[in-house]
Symmetry: C5
Subunit: 91 residues, 5 copies
């Protein structure tokens, strides 16, 4: 899984019906020191607990999404948790 | 999911029969400020609502495509929604 | 899907039995203006209509391949169509 | 599979219920000479034998994760082994 | 599929039980002119015919691996053939 910061949200009223009405976040992938890595993505928050500015982790790939219990939505990424803290060798 | 701008369309009369006759768009992946990110791709518009120049989002990976209801087409990406607006921390 | 130019072919008599005897092309991924993008790949031609030098598109990912009707071959990419023409905003 | 060094761990009490309570490592992908390659990732240790600083290998992609026996967890990467030693042509 | 050169092998006695005892190669992805492309990977040789220094091709992605007949192993890449020769437009 990759780390990311939640930097915004998206309104999209015209979307494929299979996508449902879930909230869509804009997330900026980051490394463990919160440096940006690549371009921002759109991902649903399937925890329903994520706010802007939070440090989260997300699964990447529709194949991982298929393992999430519940209705199968055709997303290719999803925020699945909030990082409380982390420690690394350089701490 | 990634953001993209629809920049064109493709004619391809010789295609594998399983691909069906769906309209194929050329999309340029972009970030949330609409700066191009990487090379353009070909993706079907499964919303049937997308026009040239529009700001859209697409799913990437055939695994996500398998979650879309209906006949299973061997695409590895598809436009699934139009972005009405977005807001980010820098707004 | 990505665009590519067919630049050659491969002989490989020692291959896993599940791969079958399908013709293997060397394809150079390109953008919509036919500029090379990244390194060449090996992909079977499942249309049986592709010749050298042609401008084609291919699906990427074994998950997409699983959606192709017929025997399931463990390929991670395949040429699925020939591009007759395309138009973009800059035309 | 890719090689990596285990460089830390993550605490995440708010996570999607399907993720279970497995230990989450921070891993830095490396090449065979242990040079860093790209940004660190978060991955569960499904061997239950990995410590900090160890040289490991991990599978990437939720599709591979689906082949691991046991309950299906929506991870997109996992540490699956420890590298005891390796030899290359330049040895 | 991508081309690669087999550059070494890995010993890993602590591995997830589902991985089996298959031989693990270190492969360096290359282009069609054998120039290195990106970082080396670890992949099993499912042909049982590959030696060091050989020019091979491999499938990438656990989804492709699921199409290989036989027991399903959670690998995300595998060497599936040896390249005897290739020809390109620049020959």
């Amino acid at each position: 899984m990759q780390m990311a910061k939640v930097i915004g949200s998206v309104w999209a009223t015209h979307r494929h019906s299979s996508l449902g009405g879930v909230k869509l976040c804009i997330i900026q992938p980051v490394d463990h020191e919160r440096n940006p890595q690549g371009a921002p993505l759109i991902a649903p928050d399937i925890t329903n607990q994520v706010g802007r500015g939070e440090f989260v982790f997300f699964v990447d790939g529709g194949d991982a999404m298929r393992l999430v219990p519940g209705p199968r939505l055709p997303y290719d990424a999803a925020v699945v948790g909030i990082i409380d803290s982390l420690s690394t060798d350089k701490d």
